[in-house]
Symmetry: C2
Subunit: 314 residues, 2 copies
């Protein structure tokens, strides 16, 4: 079996140059030179087999996901990713698996302009931790805490697709089914996030489910919201698949879309984003999250956002 | 069982203030404002039960160790720690275990001036990843790559103690035995590392064993070294415990001492360190690491530094 140093040399050391990366992989630590007049955003997420992805999940998809979930957090802060750190615990060092994993990881790293600057490889039950450092203009980071009464609640893309895709994947559907693909290869909304940094009053990425994540915004902002089911975006594929698509849109996780709030006077600016945006409701001064159906009746989801420690996933 | 958010709220959210930490735990990411005229050093290490610490290891010691191994890397770069990120995979959320783990982690965090700024809690086989961001004056970071022929090879403290301590621990010795304590509570050489940033030509922390880690310095520096067994520091406790203490000093891991090289004209400055320092040999232009016994004969260790993927630990 190859050793730790050999694994890093063979699979994770690529020619990557960046004037801000003074020392990269291979020393006790990486040395970075932050850009002046910028703040740094640091995000980190661990994914574990059987919890955050199915037991049988392609190595390339795991590599992609480990980075994607972090880039999504970077996007939600309105930042641009710069450097990633990869901590990989492996049961065994299988060269084919490592090559595929690195392939998935680096394909997203390269398209997003993220450099792998360090990490650690250990033996243990498979889990992957990625930490990403991004940058944002000084004081421009967008938190969960700024939503104000009257702001519109918006969401990018078509959440719910990934949850349906996971169901299909587990039922044996083809990897290339559009919903399965949405689960396998989430596309972090990096460009939209950066644009929204100057526009949104609060932002979060939808990882646990739209209602659960919007709930975090409301808690941090000390506000409430009213959401209209009739305004929820539903993809054609999801409408085709699900009898009650709103369940998926509101409670399905793993989409990595952005949910954000924007005041009326800046709503026009949202149209410039590079993706679909739906206005799904408004922020209220009154606390609590109300979801209303087409008849104005309180709508109660059967599914709920999941907490890694409480509910199994899929 | 408490949920992820509850775990963070109860055990890991402490009142910590720092003007450079604009957003801490509780948003999609942390927002930091780097100090002007400084570079950042980023280190990350994962520790796994049964690999990096024994199956039965106190939760407080695991919390301490997860941070200590990273602070040791920060020290080896000559940097000062600022912010830590903690990714915790847990089989179950046991409140007593979490309280003790957090106690060990924060006791070292507080004494080293490190703020917990973010992280992730997931369910899975126990493993702990910590990432630390430190700072160092611009261009002052000390890498493994600067050793030059003629430089003295030095080491702090008394390496080998921790390996002996692990043996004793596994044989049922008391937690407070001085060698066991050296394994349980490694003290990262932060102050020495910062002082050495302007003095040492190359530096590394001794985690895999003195010979193995010095080997990394030689490889990065394109040089060789001659080490004299008679010059190795041996603690009284190790001399008492081991028949062949040099084996422990040269090949034992987990000490987190600093090994560094220094030119003759700066040797005087090393005396100002806050810990014992031993000159154990010199850097040679000729490649290769030679270890000579008191009679000038080539000395071959029976034990070797360990690679996480090749050898079991203890």
């Amino acid at each position: 079996m190859p050793g730790e140093f050999q694994i890093i040399r063979e699979h994770f050391r690529r020619k990557q140059r960046d004037a801000a990366l003074l020392v990269g992989i291979g020393d006790d630590g990486a040395v970075l030179r932050p850009r002046e007049d910028h703040d740094l955003v640091v995000v980190t997420d661990t994914i574990v087999r059987g919890r955050h992805f199915p037991e049988r999940f392609a190595a390339a998809d795991i590599g992609w996901r480990a980075l994607a979930v972090n880039l999504s957090d970077i996007a939600a802060m309105g930042a641009a990713p710069r450097f990633a750190f990869l901590n990989l615990a492996l049961e065994e060092a299988d060269d084919n698996w490592l090559r595929d994993f690195a392939g998935g990881f680096f394909s997203l790293a390269e398209q997003s302009g993220t450099l792998l600057a360090g990490g650690d490889t250990v033996r243990g039950p498979l889990s992957v931790t990625v930490t990403v450092i991004g940058e944002v203009a000084r004081d421009a980071a967008c938190t969960r805490a700024g939503a104000r009464a009257g702001d519109y609640v918006c969401v990018t893309g078509t959440p719910g697709d990934a949850a349906a895709g996971l169901e299909l994947l587990q039922a044996g559907a083809d990897d290339e089914h559009p919903l399965v693909r949405r689960f396998r290869r989430p596309e972090p909304r990096l460009r939209a996030g950066r644009t929204l940094a100057g526009i949104a009053t609060a932002m979060i990425d939808v990882s646990d489910g739209l209602l659960a994540d919007l709930g975090h915004v409301l808690e941090a902002s000390g506000a409430g919201a009213r959401i209209e089911v009739s305004r929820l975006p539903v993809s054609a594929a999801l409408a085709d698949h699900a009898e009650k698509p709103a369940e998926y849109v509101l409670a399905g996780g793993d989409d990595y879309e952005l949910c954000f709030t924007v005041p009326e006077e800046r709503l026009e600016a949202v149209k410039g984003l590079d993706c679909r945006v739906s206005i799904i409701g408004r922020i209220t001064a009154e606390r609590g999250l109300r979801v209303l159906d087409a008849n104005g009746r309180e709508w109660r989801p059967e599914r709920r956002g999941w907490d890694h420690f409480r509910n199994a996933h899929g």
